[in-house]
Amino acid sequence: MTAPILRLSDVSRTFGTGDGAVHAVRSVSFDVAAGECLAIVGESGSGKSTLANMILGIYPPTTGEIALEGTVLPARRALAHRQAIQLVQQNPLSSLNPKRSIGATLRLALDVHGIGAPADRAAIVGALLEEVGLAAEYARRAPAALSGGQRQRVAIARALACQSRVVVLDEPTSALDVLVQARVLRLLDALRAERGLTYIFITHDLSVVRNIADRIAVFEKGRMIEIGDTETIFSAPSQTYTRRLISAVPVITGDELALRDKLAAHTKEDAP
């Protein structure tokens, strides 16, 4: 097996000290293979965003190490490290400068990371927009003039502009309508294959995870209680908590109901 692109070794994060300390993430270790989509699932407050922030270098772990392609990342990251790992968040409006046109936002990412010859950058912006399914004329628009799905495409284009290899997606489609969600998920799937991207896909939506992730890590109260390939987590989850999460998902087909009922029945057997 090739070396993992990302390795977390015994990573913890505590906020505050003494009695009031919050152990947001506790001793988490896992490897992510290049080109893989690893989903992080768990209820709110389980530590998903804290984990994402540490991977992105927004703040360092309290203890433990994060390594990118075998190199342990320092608390203060070099530009190249920041370039390699990019974020797409639930509400891209908060990360897009409202005064900057879409084209200027993408151009800035190219300038900061020195991507392409300066004379070529306008053309690269056009190509990036096309790659995420937006017409070139969107370059002139302001973020406010875009729909939620279009903004999410711009956020994805910015991650591509940086030529990042790892993309952390924090609830990327949770605020989108179901038709728009399906289109954005397909785009993400296609880009991963074409560009060989690695995804850390954070979501509470297990139906989405089932259809997009290779592996799933389940978080409960800061602990990773289970990790495995998607097929196994759904057909034979080892933890009661995981079964509870899956059996609470609202579903629409008879097959889904059967799956849920099967898992719910196991959960009852587990009960003391």
Partner: protein
């Protein structure tokens, strides 16, 4: 068939802005029988919340809103009522549950005081002690065992799921004939959402409350509603019993919506075409076509 609890007929709504009138509801009709649970499903901006706000009488007094058509609540035409009379209905004969429980409760009052206010809307003379007892009883109905602690708490001291149960209890405290739930629990974890929906369903069944249940989530709708309407850009496109619509969605928009839902059993992310002109096709009414 008994008279409907809510009967909306050919409802149009426009907003006046600096570029003139913009119509957002293009003549929708919807009815709910007493005790019936009816869902209104559609994407964001399709007109779900404005419909709810008209039924609650909240848009009628907005100067920029132009409303035509009929809204009959228990046989009475809301448009013909004074704004005071409409106001008197809210929180008594009809009530509402919003998306985010914690921010729809008043943060500066204890739950007990908020219950007292709610109960006073129906009975202005209700004493504090009596309100307290009534609140404890209805909290028990939403499976809150330590009602005293909850009543003495402020909303921020309770979890989101607990606040949601409190909201449900408050909304049903005056035994309304109609409950409007606009995306209830969307802000909660799925496990909590599933529990509170079950509680709400049991409660409205026990109290024979009619419900207008607004949601963009087809799975939630399937589990909660007897009958559903699909709305697309201010037009009803399909209506029928929940099982019939899920078994045989006939309108192109409903079909696209259902095809786009990712399944817990896998199958991949479907390819979804751009909005099609077919989405503007006329209403498919499962009941009009079925022999009765």
């Amino acid at each position: 068939m008994s008279a409907p609890m809510l009967d909306i007929r050919d409802l149009h709504l426009s907003f006046k802005g600096h570029t003139g009138l913009t119509e957002v509801l293009h003549g929708i009709s919807l009815h709910i029988q007493p005790g019936e649970r009816v869902a209104l499903v559609g994407e964001s901006g399709s007109g779900k919340s404005v419909t709810a706000r008209i039924v609650l009488g909240l848009l009628q007094d907005l100067p920029s809103a132009r409303i035509t058509g009929q809204v009959l609540f228990d046989g009475r035409d809301l448009e013909l009522m004074s704004s005071r009379a409409r106001h008197a209905l809210r929180g008594t004969a009809m009530s509402m549950i919003f998306q985010d429980p914690t921010s729809s409760l008043n943060p500066v009052f204890r739950i007990a005081d908020q219950f007292h206010d709610v109960l006073r809307r129906a009975d202005p003379s209700v004493a504090k002690a009596a309100a307290h007892d009534r609140a404890a009883a209805i909290l028990a109905e939403v499976s809150i065992r330590d009602a005293q602690r909850v009543l003495n708490a402020y909303p921020f001291q309770l979890s989101g799921g607990m606040n949601q149960r409190v909201m449900i209890a408050m909304a049903l405290a005056n035994e309304p004939a109609l409950l409007i739930a606009d995306e209830p629990g969307t802000a909660l974890d799925v496990t909590v959402q599933a529990q509170t929906l079950q509680l709400m369903r049991r409660l409205v069944e026990d109290h024979h409350t009619a419900v207008l249940f607004i949601s963009h989530n087809l799975g939630v709708v399937r589990e909660f509603a007897d009958r559903l309407y699909v709305i697309y850009k201010g037009r009803m496109v399909e209506q029928g019993p929940t099982d019939a619509v899920f078994a045989d969605p006939r309108h192109p928009y409903t079909r696209a919506l259902m095809a786009a839902v990712p399944h817990l059993t896998g199958g991949g992310i479907p390819e979804i075409a751009e909005a099609s002109p077919d989405f503007a096709a006329p209403l498919v009414d499962h009941e009009a076509e079925a022999p009765s």
